[in-house]
């Protein structure tokens, strides 16, 4: 491989002592400081800032209203209009999950249940939110449209155990989602 030799640029005396550049920087900072005190920071409105610069005073202020439609937050399980839990415990999300955050224990739906024809549902479903990387592969792989990434990003807990979302919590976050494909309809 050919070696290309690069010459250092020849600097003039004024550039060598870098005093001019330093002063330029001071004045630029000063200009922005004055602007921000006057409430005239660039993009402050777009970024829903507190008025002082572009900084948002989280958590008193947050950006939730600005979250884009494609935002990927905590994964959660959903029920449909009929109140059926959509997950059938096929374990594809568990399989695809890159950080192995999902753990499912499959279970059988008892014959007395109105949804007995679906036969299978998760007996337990746990997502370890310390492991989750919010990649959205679980949502992409789900053949039953049962798991979705919500916009929740505030996942808090004071112990590792609290950071594991169990089935109840996942359905509480997910809620009801309408307009999904009704695969287990009356023809099934």
């Amino acid at each position: 491989m050919a070696v290309i030799k690069i010459q250092r640029p020849k600097l003039r005396f004024g550039e060598k002592i870098y005093l001019t550049a330093l002063c330029k920087g001071f004045f630029l900072t000063l200009r922005h400081a004055v602007k921000s005190l006057m409430g005239k920071s660039m993009g402050a409105k777009d970024l829903a800032s507190s008025g002082l610069g572009v900084t948002m005073q989280y958590p008193e202020q947050n950006w939730d209203a600005q979250l884009p439609a494609y935002y990927r937050g905590a994964p959660a399980l959903v029920t449909d209009e009929q109140g059926r839990e959509r997950c059938v415990a096929c374990q594809l999300c568990e399989f695809i999950c890159p950080p192995k955050a999902i753990k499912i224990t499959p279970g059988e739906i008892p014959s007395a249940d109105p949804w007995a024809k679906v036969e299978k549902r998760p007996a337990a479903f746990a997502i370890d939110m310390i492991r989750c990387i919010y990649c959205g592969m679980c949502e992409e792989v789900c053949p039953e449209q049962a798991i979705f990434l919500r916009k929740d990003y505030v996942i808090l807990g004071t112990s590792r155990k609290e950071m594991v979302h169990d089935k109840q919590k996942l359905y509480a976050i997910g809620g009801v989602r309408t307009g999904l494909v009704n695969k287990w309809n009356e023809l099934k």
């Binding site: 374990q91 279970g107 059988e108 299978k120």
Partner: protein, 579 residues
């Protein structure tokens, strides 16, 4: 054709060369091969690694040819006109004329100069058509189907399917989730009517309770009224079901198959030594299935043996050495346990000590048992017999899996002979210490708790807490059959290998390590034994039948080492069926 004498010299054509060994020449996808006469086309293709998708065909059953998935294009040399010599190419093969219509590869046999093509457009179109018909009424409930991941219909739909359905009518409704037997469940909507299960129950299990009812698109697999699919071989039907129509209750919704790791090993429930695969995930066994070995169990295994693994993860499992203080056992560590065992054994004269070993132990463990007896100086070594009715298929009357190996290693014709004498001596008080390896004396060997109470020292190694463990002064936790590596010799004299599928729980140890450490603690002279392979090498040096073998060379299918004359009835039946 020339009339010169030179040209009339007998030049052997490929046909003549093949015929000398009873074979025929067959061209498969442009490459010439030789196969024995009477080979099925599908088997010929399989032998040369050419995949022919199929559902109804199974090598161990008759071929009714009803799924039509294995259609291939064939060709033969044209019949020459009277007086005309056949056209031959440079290698001497006759030119093939391809037939315009396909044939099924499963029910047709190869013939001389036959051409088979599995890749032509016609064949691809046939497969796509068959797949489209099969998927018309298939429920596509793969997310809840236990077969998903190992389903032939799924695989072939991906390889040969259209990808989209053109069917607009409602699918035909059939019975779902039907309990047709105590251990098996039927979903008729998933059934593709291949009839493998019907043929298996008729031809192999000898209990023809399954059949088709209704006609046309309403054809339904069902069990004969008043009967159940309750044969002890019923779960093999779920194995050979190409779709998820028949599923095993025990494995139902337990784990998706793509999570499972498959370990080839042996069944230890009887002397047949059925070859099995143990399917595990994260140290949990989820199911056991038979593994093909044409010299042992063909493709099958009995349900009773297949389902007998839940005790391994059960609540009675021993996970640490226990020492008896007064009426109760307290956990202890391995070094303390072995030291106290050695000290208490040394306190007795050799003739006051006996060893009761198990026919469920591997060859390696039995050889170390022999070494232990030598280290103690006792000749009182016996196995616990375990005989029950044989079932005329795969279950042998001898329920000990390694009686043949024990005969070889302990060098006796009847390894059970001394058991009665040992029992009597325990009762009279002549024996003061007993080492019990992998047996429950109270349940299986005719001892009572009172008998065992007379002993000064009772040492038991076992995997489960049982009545004998309750009476034992020292209990050592051992490894289950899925947790150990080793070898066994089955009733027909075949040396086969066990492989480790899971790790032992807690502090439980491999039996051979327990025996080795016990011998060391007793101060017995013993060569360096670091791994199970060392034990086998040492054993092979002393047993002529094992000469030159190692655990690695036994392989997955085993090696015949003895001719015991024992015939496995199921293989006899199979030979009779195939003529």
């Amino acid at each position: 054709m020339s009339d010169t004498p030179l040209a009339k010299a007998p030049i052997k054509t490929p046909k003549d060369l093949a015929a000398e060994t009873g074979r025929v020449n067959v061209q498969i996808n442009g490459v010439w091969h030789q196969f024995p006469k009477g080979t099925r086309m599908i088997e010929a293709c399989r032998q040369v690694q050419v995949a022919v998708p199929h559902y109804c065909y199974h090598p161990k059953l008759t071929a009714p040819g009803n799924c039509r998935m294995c259609l291939v294009q064939i060709g033969m040399p044209p019949r020459p006109a009277p007086g005309q010599e056949p056209q031959r190419d440079a290698q001497g093969y006759e030119a093939i004329t391809w037939m315009p219509r396909p044939v099924i590869a499963c029910a047709n046999t190869v013939s001389e100069n036959l051409g088979i093509c599995t890749t032509s457009e016609l064949v691809e179109n046939c497969r796509e058509g068959v797949m489209e018909f099969l998927l018309i009424n298939h429920p596509l409930d793969c997310p809840i189907c236990d077969k998903a991941g190992e389903c032939r219909l799924q695989e072939n739909a991906a390889a040969h399917g259209r990808g989209t359905s053109r069917f607009v009518d409602n699918k035909v409704k059939k019975p779902k989730n039907v309990a047709i037997g105590p251990r098996i469940r039927l979903d008729d909507e998933r059934c593709i009517l291949c009839g493998r299960c019907i043929r298996f129950m008729d031809e192999v299990a000898g209990d023809p309770v399954l059949g088709f009812t209704q006609r046309g698109t309403h054809t339904t697999l069902s069990v004969h009224p008043g009967h159940l699919l309750d044969s002890n071989y019923s779960l093999n039907t779920a194995d050979i079901c190409p779709v998820g129509a028949l599923t095993v209750n025990d494995f139902r919704f337990q784990m998706r198959v793509w999570f499972l790791k498959e370990t080839p090993t042996l069944d230890v429930n009887c002397g047949t030594g059925t070859n099995i695969s143990v399917w595990t995930r994260e140290n949990t066994i989820h199911r056991i299935t038979p593994r093909r070995n044409n010299d042992v169990n063909s493709d099958w295994m009995p349900d009773s043996h297949r389902l007998n693994f839940h005790y391994i993860d059960g609540p009675a499992r021993l996970t640490q050495p226990l020492v008896k203080h007064g009426a109760h056992h307290a956990p202890t560590g391995w070094p303390e346990a072995l030291q106290s065992a050695a000290a208490r054994l040394k306190a007795h004269a050799p003739q006051q000590i006996a060893i009761i070993a198990s026919g469920r132990m591997t060859n390696e463990e039995l050889s170390l048992t022999r070494a232990l007896a030598q280290a103690i100086g006792t000749a009182q070594v016996a196995l616990v017999p375990r005989f029950a009715a044989a079932d005329a298929l795969l279950i042998a009357g001898d329920r000990n899996p390694n009686t043949t190996g024990a005969k070889l290693i302990l060098d006796t014709e009847d390894p059970f002979a001394k058991l009665d004498a040992i029992r009597e001596q325990v009762r009279t008080g002549a024996l003061r210490a007993l080492i019990v390896l992998g047996e429950d004396l109270i349940a299986d060997a005719g001892f009572t708790a009172d008998d065992l109470g007379k002993l000064d020292f009772l040492l038991q190694s076992h995997i489960l807490a049982n009545a004998t463990a309750d009476a034992a002064h020292l209990v050592l936790p051992a490894a289950a059959f899925t947790e150990k590596c080793g070898s066994m010799v089955n009733l027909s004299g075949r040396l086969q290998r066990l492989n480790r599928a899971t790790d032992s729980p807690g502090l439980a140890r491999d039996d051979w390590q327990i025996l080795r450490d016990l011998i060391r603690a007793l101060g017995g002279e013993h060569p360096q034994l670091d791994q199970i392979e060392d034990v086998f090498v040492q054993l092979a040096a002393s047993i002529p039948a094992f000469a030159g073998l190692s655990l690695a060379t036994i392989g997955a299918a085993g090696v015949p080492v003895l001719d015991t004359g024992y015939q496995i009835p199921l293989l006899e039946n199979e030979r009779a069926r195939n003529g």
